[in-house]
């Protein structure tokens, strides 16, 4: 099947949205487009698994390579492995949920849905790219919609948050750009497959790895470049928060993983720095969350902590840990989107996100409260939900590293889960349990669209949590391939 469909479909949806009239038409088109995309992703999964079980062991399936800028040797080279496919599925689910959550967005609805679709298009393009130039192109395509979404439809100090987010992400991509130039001028290609075959000279790797990795790290909220996360997420409208945390931060994690695979020698050299930064992010994020009183800030800071696990898994550079990192990306995407959706539902009814002003919501809105609790439990890593599977895999992977300092990092990161439990349970207890205030007692529960969005995300979480072998089956061959690549280049040296 042709992967370009994954970009064309959102593109078509975007055009139709521009032509549509009235909120009703726009949101229906948006939703239909998103569901079609989910169907497409499902079909992609099926044909991917079919091909794999038929014995097709190529690193990337559905490859297609077209010349783009001939004179500069830039190609539109696309193809997916299991990891990219997992990310595409994640995107598709979150986009549908995001459309459902935005059902009653009546302020400039055309622009709003258009930008959401544009953002998702950037993400799909990013995940299918095998050419670094194309990858970079789509990475930046996704930046501007975020800026506008937060700045126009956001709440609180929205313009400042939007500006901060856009500038930090642009700075990240500027770093990525320098790294990519370095790779290009030493291998004369942007093609990841070719680069893997050729290998990059060790000296070049050591010089350019920090640029590329840190650049993507900004997107993945790597400490100390995480400061855009809390403000950006907190100010964004609900669907944009879901997209930001669920999709956009994954662009960073995925990019980091690819860069580490392309420059394995440098990744080994710098792994202690990566792990150090990741551990700081995990612990700092967890403790910073404890101090928050606003539900969105709680989730945003906890995202820093959770995304730290992704970077930690990548930094440990072994098969299990990288596997865990990928699962954590998917799990965190679903979980945090669910969390933001629940917070958005609560906020649209109570008009406050302050934990202290809420209470006893379970009585007025049982469905939303249940969703909130599920998201919280997933976040603190309760077995049965995806968070447990992901974090467990990361820890198992990291523990395989015999180095004492690395073990210490693992223990410290593991300990952060206790802190997570504290802030999640506290917020849940205050907001959901207890007596309800009079003004909140008459609020209504979730509408059909909100229920559908939540159910969709919860199903995703449960699938990973209860049947982790499904996702493992999808991504393990790909992590194997990455480990093999890394080992091969090591031998070349």
């Amino acid at each position: 099947m042709n992967l370009t469909l994954l970009i064309l479909l959102p593109f078509l949806t975007a055009i139709l949205i521009l032509l549509a009239k009235g909120l009703q038409q726009i949101r229906v088109i948006g939703l239909i487009g998103a569901i079609a995309q989910l169907g497409l992703a499902g079909w992609l999964l099926k044909s991917f698994l079919d091909q794999r079980s038929a014995g097709n062991n190529a690193a990337y399936l559905f490859e297609s390579n077209q010349t783009w800028f001939k004179s500069l040797n830039i190609n539109y080279h696309i193809g997916i492995d299991g990891i990219a496919l997992a990310m595409i599925l994640l995107c598709a689910v979150i986009v549908v949920a995001g459309m459902l959550v935005s059902w009653s967005m009546d302020k400039l609805s055309k622009e709003y849905f258009f930008l959401l679709v544009l953002l998702s298009m950037g993400a799909y393009g990013f995940f299918i790219s095998l050419d670094l130039f194309t990858l970079f192109f789509f990475l930046e395509v996704a930046v501007i919609p975020k800026f506008l979404l937060i700045g126009i439809w956001g709440s609180g100090d929205k313009t400042k948050s939007a500006m901060k987010l856009a500038l930090m992400l642009m700075a990240g991509s500027a770093l990525v750009m320098v790294g990519l130039f370095g790779i290009y001028y030493n291998t004369h290609t942007f093609d990841m497959v070719q680069i893997t075959q050729q290998g990059i000279p060790v000296g070049v790797q050591k010089f350019f790895f920090p640029f590329a990795f840190l650049g993507f790290g900004v997107f993945a909220a790597l400490f100390p470049f995480h400061t855009w996360v809390p403000d950006g997420h907190a100010s964004a409208p609900t669907a944009a928060s879901m997209f930001l945390a669920g999709i956009s931060m994954k662009l960073g994690g995925y990019g980091c993983l690819r860069i580490a695979a392309l420059m394995p020698d440098a990744a080994h050299t710098y792994s202690w720095i990566i792990i150090l930064l990741a551990t700081i992010a995990i612990i700092y994020g967890a403790f910073a969350t404890m101090m928050q009183t606003d539900l969105k800030y709680i989730n945003a800071y906890s995202s820093i902590s959770h995304c730290g696990f992704v970077i930690l898994g990548i930094g440990m550079l072994n098969k299990t840990s990288i596997n865990g990192a990928v699962i954590q990306m998917v799990s965190h995407g679903l979980m945090t989107a669910l969390f933001f959706a629940a917070i958005g539902m609560i906020y649209s009814r109570t008009h406050t996100r302050m934990v202290a002003q809420l209470g006893g919501l379970l009585k007025a809105m049982p469905f939303i409260s249940t969703v909130f609790v599920i998201a919280g439990l997933c976040s603190l890593g309760l077995p049965g939900f995806s968070g447990f599977v992901a974090e467990m895999t990361v820890f198992m992977g990291s523990w395989q590293n015999p180095n004492g300092a690395y073990r210490l990092a693992t223990i410290l990161s593991g300990a952060s889960i206790v802190v997570t439990a504290v802030y999640i349970l506290r917020a849940t207890g205050r907001a959901i349990m207890g007596p309800i205030s009079n003004e909140h007692a008459l609020l209504t529960d979730a509408t059909w669209n909100e229920k559908l969005a939540a159910v969709l995300l919860i199903v995703g979480i449960l699938i990973i949590g209860l049947a982790p072998f499904l996702i493992n089956h999808l991504i393990i061959p790909s992590t194997d391939a990455i480990m093999l690549q890394m080992a091969k280049v090591n031998q070349l040296k």
């Binding site: 789509f138 930046e140 313009t159 856009a166 500038l167 320098v178």
Partner: protein, 469 residues
């Protein structure tokens, strides 16, 4: 021979014929401005279309004038730009008494640039340069009732005269050390002796004045602010483009023996230009001043591309200029419409602009994103290719510096977008009735901004006709 002259000089001749036609129209009976403007726009369109046929290579007047596919393409770019500027000025010129004079001035200036781009001799180059500068100063003074306009003209003519003087001094030193002014012979005589280097630095300084590279940029902001929008657009796009084309031609073909020297000069100029342009652009509220400083920063990026001194370097310059024509002129188009219909020209006036004028807002936003270098607009490709060309030399320091500066520039472009979309304003600019011609010009620009980048044929074509060191 006559036939040859007609063919090789056809772009210049076409402009000359148009200029004379306008003179006759001026002498004839009074016609309405709309008719005149429509006629001129149609003529410029034909002029542009005609430019693409008969791509003959050759030289005239003993090598004084030469032309080839690349030069024809460069002139076509300028033809395109003047057409867009002319279409966008419709609202402004519709009620102006001196329409024809305006066109006489800017077309003469364009003619001078054509000769400058085609020059094969420093004298011809200087002749073209002066021919392009002096009418521009008059055009800058076109708002006769505004003091700022005449101030702008005065500043332009004085600084131009000064830079021409420096340029002439450089040219005479070059002549003194080499005994020739013809490009093709000059190369063999360039040996990098101190006087020659001094002459070269004077020459570069003269160029830097014209493209307003730091530290020779001081005239730019005042002139841009005072001059009518159309003239500002002309100055910032066409004038710069023509000088840059000539500069690349000189550097890549004539001054090849001292390539390492000018590489250093270019990099230093580029770094200073980007930084100063950016820092000053941060604090501007007047839209034209803002675009002036942003265009200074853009020139810095262009210089980085040129410093790459490869075929990709020259190609990325021309490619970027094409994109710059679309994106900068789209921005100027909106500013021109707004200022001619409401008299407002500050960024703060644009607060809440989206509520009343969504179409114009999108045009401006897309233009600014392209200037900032955000995909999927063409500006992304343009800037990236310039930087790639610069990185080819392996000097990553300047690339990192430029990449960080891209982030700064991103900030001030976003600030404008923020005013348009996000800021509240009790009394935003009212809904504007944009003339159809101006609207068409804006649409052309927007389509250009989007298509030029994604359609790789454009770049590949430019690359195939470019020259490298």
């Amino acid at each position: 021979m006559t036939y040859n002259i007609l063919i090789l000089l056809r772009q210049e001749l076409a402009l000359t014929v148009l200029i004379f036609l306008l003179l006759f129209i001026k002498l004839g009976k009074d016609r309405s401005n709309e008719n005149i403007l429509n006629f001129i726009n149609a003529a410029l369109l034909i002029n542009l279309a005609a430019g693409f046929c008969c791509q003959e290579t050759g030289e005239l007047f003993n090598g004084m004038f030469n032309t080839n596919t690349l030069i024809i393409f460069e002139k076509n770019l300028l033809n395109l730009a003047i057409l867009i500027i002319s279409m966008q000025s419709y609202a402004w010129l519709k009620n102006n008494k001196n329409v024809i004079e305006f066109y006489l001035l800017i077309l003469t200036s364009l003619l001078g640039m054509f000769f400058m781009i085609s020059s094969g001799n420093l004298l011809m180059f200087y002749l073209g340069l002066e021919m392009s500068t002096i009418p521009l100063a008059a055009a800058a003074n076109f708002d006769l009732t505004k003091r700022k306009s005449s101030e702008a003209a005065m500043k332009l003519i004085l600084s131009s005269a000064f830079s021409s003087g420096i340029l002439l001094l450089g040219i005479s030193f070059l002549y003194g050390t080499s005994g020739t002014l013809t490009f093709s012979i000059l190369t063999a005589h360039i040996n990098g002796n101190p006087l020659q280097l001094f002459a070269f630095i004077l020459l570069i300084a003269g160029f830097a004045f014209k493209i307003s590279a730091v530290p020779f940029h001081l005239w730019t902001a005042d002139v841009y602010e005072g001059a009518p929008v159309a003239v500002t657009a002309f100055l910032s796009v066409i004038s710069k483009a023509a000088v840059l084309f000539t500069l690349v031609n000189l550097l890549y073909k004539v001054f090849t023996p001292i390539a390492s020297t000018w590489y250093l000069i270019l990099v230093l100029l580029a770094a200073a230009t980007i930084l100063i342009g950016n820092l000053f652009a941060l604090r501007q509220d007047n839209f034209k001043r803002f675009l002036a400083f942003s265009s200074i920063a853009q020139v810095g990026f262009i210089l980085i591309g040129i410093s790459g001194s490869s075929q990709a370097g020259a190609a990325s310059l021309i490619y970027f200029i094409l994109i710059y024509i679309f994106s900068n002129l789209a921005a100027f188009g909106v500013v021109s419409v707004v200022s001619s219909l409401t008299g407002k020209g500050n960024i703060s006036d644009f607060k809440g602009f989206y509520k009343t004028n969504p179409m114009l807002s999108w045009v401006l936003t897309i233009a600014l994103f392209s200037l900032a270098g955000v995909p999927p607009t063409a500006g992304f490709f343009g800037k990236l290719f310039l930087m790639m060309a610069g990185a080819a030399k392996g000097n990553y320091g300047i690339i990192i510096f430029a990449a960080l500066n891209m982030v700064i520039s991103f900030y001030y472009y976003l600030k404008v977008v923020k005013s348009i979309f996000m800021d509240e304003n009790a009394s935003p600019i009212q809904k504007l009735e944009v003339p159809g011609v101006s609207k068409l010009a804006m649409y052309i620009c927007v389509v250009g901004v989007i298509v030029t980048g994604l359609a790789s044929v454009v770049y590949d074509y430019i690359y195939s006709i470019s020259i490298g060191l």
